[in-house]
């Protein structure tokens, strides 16, 4: 029985900050300093009542169902609910059904803190699946760490975090970028032009790819960043034409993506001669690019809708039967779906649904990810993954070009973090 709260909050917000997509990081922590309820006692109370009355296991589902981020996050909520209902349909976890508590944080990084507090302190959920933009995860970190609660974070992000209270169920950069960079240098050329949006996620991604590419003997001839809201790329394209690179590495995000790819096509560049490899461009962004401008460009991911395996065909059918086929299934959706199964496996292993027991049980827990295979949570709270490289077709979906070997996660890759600076993992991030 879902307790849904589809409150519509109209959020006045600056353009662009809105559509930044997956990896925005903002220090919107101002609202976190004062916890209204007694957070020091939260640990014990959350632990004791997380066990619930014995009938159901409460699980928080925390996404934006309204506002600018809702386009991505509503589909992630849907995928999470699909998995929860499937788990309940087969009898729940050890005979106990999951009771999802769905909260809408309305694309607002202060509302997300209030909603997380409600889930942790009032509903006393066993765990939460949710958050999307890094800014939302950073904002709720103190709530989960102070309350000793559990957050499953189901999308790829920019590394350099390893909270005791977060299970990162999607990719980190060493999984996402290593094999892709090697493939791209080997197959598309050694002269690389880099572009990206000007904030921490794209800068980290570009720094890692630059390091990896240079190890392969490639040269990065430019690494150019744009203000987040910029959608005019004519100047950069003039410079790209003059530089004549073999390929483009692109981490422009959100609203910039369709503008960049369409202007790239308009300027006469072709993927046959100069392909674009994007780090942050799922099928959802690609839909607004259109097949004509998207076709032939690349994006690596642990999941594509077009993967033709029986388990994925069935996953896509089940999703579409319930939510329609207006949106393609994508990596964050698959990771959200898989997160519910990982959580169920952890609770099963723990034998009880308290946050402390769940956290202790998580390392070593596995689940089946549609279209990808078995994924396992490691000691560093991140998850093993198998990445494929996709190339866009004329329907603006990605076809798999090559499937790489599975990789263990390394949130502090040696390519950007000096050995002496690598912290113990997991650790407290927000205290």
């Amino acid at each position: 029985m879902a307790t849904e709260h589809p409150t519509r909050r109209d959020v006045l917000k600056r353009a662009g900050a809105a559509a930044i997509g997956t990896t925005a990081v903002g220090s919107l922590l101002s609202a976190c300093g004062s916890t209204g309820t007694s957070s020091s006692t939260g640990t014990t109370t959350a632990a004791s009542s997380g066990a619930g009355g014995g009938d159901t296991i409460k699980v928080g589902v925390l996404f934006s169902l309204s506002g600018d981020l809702s386009i991505a996050e509503t589909s992630m909520k849907n995928a999470t609910m699909l998995a929860i209902d499937e788990i309940n349909a087969r009898g729940g976890i050890g005979g106990r059904k999951i009771e999802p508590v769905v909260e809408d944080y309305a694309s607002d990084f202060s509302v997300v803190v209030q909603k997380a507090r409600k889930l942790v302190n009032d509903d006393r959920v066993a765990a939460t699946i949710g958050c999307y933009a890094s800014a939302s995860r950073k904002a709720v970190l103190p709530v989960y760490e102070q309350g000793n609660a559990v957050l499953l974070y189901p999308t790829f992000y920019e590394n350099l975090e390893c909270s005791t209270n977060v299970i990162y169920t999607s990719l980190v950069a060493n999984q996402h970028l290593t094999d892709t960079t090697n493939w791209m240098v080997r197959n598309a050329g050694k002269k690389i032009y880099m572009v990206g949006s000007d904030y921490v996620g794209p800068q980290t991604y570009n720094a890692i790819v630059k390091k990896l590419a240079e190890q392969q003997g490639a040269t990065v001839i430019a690494n150019r960043f744009f203000p987040l809201t910029q959608t005019e790329f004519g100047s950069a394209l003039s410079d790209i034409r003059a530089a004549n690179p073999d390929l483009i590495w692109n981490t422009i995000v959100g609203a910039g993506i369709p503008a960049f790819l369409k202007q790239y096509q308009a300027a006469g560049f072709t993927p046959e001669k100069t392909p674009i490899f994007s780090g942050i461009c799922t099928e959802q962004e690609l839909a607004a690019v259109g097949g004509a401008a998207a076709k032939g460009h690349y994006f690596p991911a642990s999941y594509f809708e077009t993967i033709r395996t029986p388990d994925n065909t069935s996953f896509v059918q089940r999703y579409q039967a319930r939510y329609g086929s207006a949106q393609p299934t994508n990596m964050p959706m698959q990771a959200s779906y898989t997160s519910a199964y990982l959580l169920a496996a952890a609770i099963e292993k723990a034998g009880e649904a308290t946050p402390a027991a769940i956290l202790q049980a998580f390392p070593g827990v596995s689940a089946h990810a549609p279209g990808e295979g078995t994924v396992t949570v490691k000691d560093n709270h991140h998850t093993t993954h198998t990445v494929s490289l996709g190339r866009a077709n004329d329907r603006a979906l990605y076809d798999v070009v090559v499937r790489f070997a599975p990789r263990d996660p390394d949130p502090f890759p040696a390519s950007i973090v000096p050995a002496s600076k690598i912290p113990s993992c997991p650790r407290r991030e927000a205290s």
Binding site: D68, A236, A266
Partner: protein, 282 residues
């Protein structure tokens, strides 16, 4: 490189000019600082998104300014006319209007980025082995035609004369028997229509979503501050100037630096200039 900078600069300037023209006319005629101007650009882009699959790209570009102009007419009669000749009130009122328009589009059309195909995908040769997107040439031509057309219309037509008279002194215009409310409504509809045209023309190159208008408002304001509110010729010249300066920095260096340079120079000009911000006539 130089050819690319000039071509790119004019293309950036063209978009600035299309969005600045409407802003400056509306201020010149009725003293309204329209903070919802970016939203009219956004509405023009959505008109393109919704109309081009039905009627084709070129008819959609022709219809978009009419649709947005009509919306402007309704908005003028229901809201803007209470805000004439009061810059502070007009800023507050149109700021609220901007929020309402954005949220209505968000409710009706959703937050997703929308797709508009490129009507012309080929490039043109600039000589020296340089190529340039044909669609950007269309942008430059459209801005030039719109700017010169509006200027001629103001200078030569009977309505243009009424608009100029109202700009100089609306009370005198009224006492001479002119239908000033109609002149005002016409001017506002034209301002909105120009923004709609800008939106329709940039939609194939830009990302279309409810919040896209703000960057156009900011760009238009930059030009209007430099040109002085209410001057068409200056608005066109400064649009080209800002576009060329942006490209001169952004093509060889990068766009973040270009913004820093452009805004620093704008600040210096505004700080050093002793003459009033507002030009006396359209």
């Amino acid at each position: 490189m130089l050819v690319q900078i000039v071509a790119q600069g004019l293309s950036v300037g063209a978009v600035l000019a299309l969005s600045a023209l409407g802003l400056t006319i509306v201020y010149g005629v009725m003293g309204v600082v329209n903070l919802a101007h970016g939203e009219f650009v956004m509405l023009g882009a959505y008109a393109m998104v919704l109309l081009s699959p039905l009627v084709g790209a070129w008819p959609a570009i022709a219809l978009a300014p009419l649709v947005v102009g009509a919306i402007g007419l309704v908005v003028d009669r229901t809201l803007i006319r209470f805000l004439y000749h009061d810059p502070v009130k007009s800023m507050l009122g149109t700021f609220g209007l901007a929020i309402v328009i954005r949220q209505l589009v968000l409710i009706v059309e959703g937050p997703a980025l929308r797709y508009v195909g490129l009507p012309l995908t080929s490039t043109v040769s600039l000589g020296f082995g340089q190529e340039f997107p044909l669609w950007r040439v269309v942008l430059i031509l459209a801005a030039a035609i719109a700017g010169v057309g509006i200027a001629i219309w103001l200078a030569r037509s009977a309505t243009g004369l009424k608009v100029r008279t109202t700009t100089v002194d609306s009370d005198v215009a009224q006492s001479l028997g002119m239908n000033v409310p109609r002149v005002n409504a016409t001017a506002f509809a034209i301002g909105a229509g120009l923004a709609g045209l800008a939106g329709a023309l940039v939609a194939p190159l830009d990302s279309v979503y409810p919040d896209m208008g703000l960057s156009y408002l900011v760009g238009a304001f930059l030009v209007v501050i430099l040109a002085g509110l209410g001057s068409i010729r200056n608005a066109l010249l400064w649009s080209a100037g800002v576009g060329l300066l942006t490209a001169a920095v952004a093509v060889p260096a990068d766009d973040v630096l270009a913004q820093v340079v452009v805004w620093s120079i704008a600040l210096a000009i505004v700080a050093l200039r002793r003459q009033p911000l507002v030009a006396s006539r359209v």
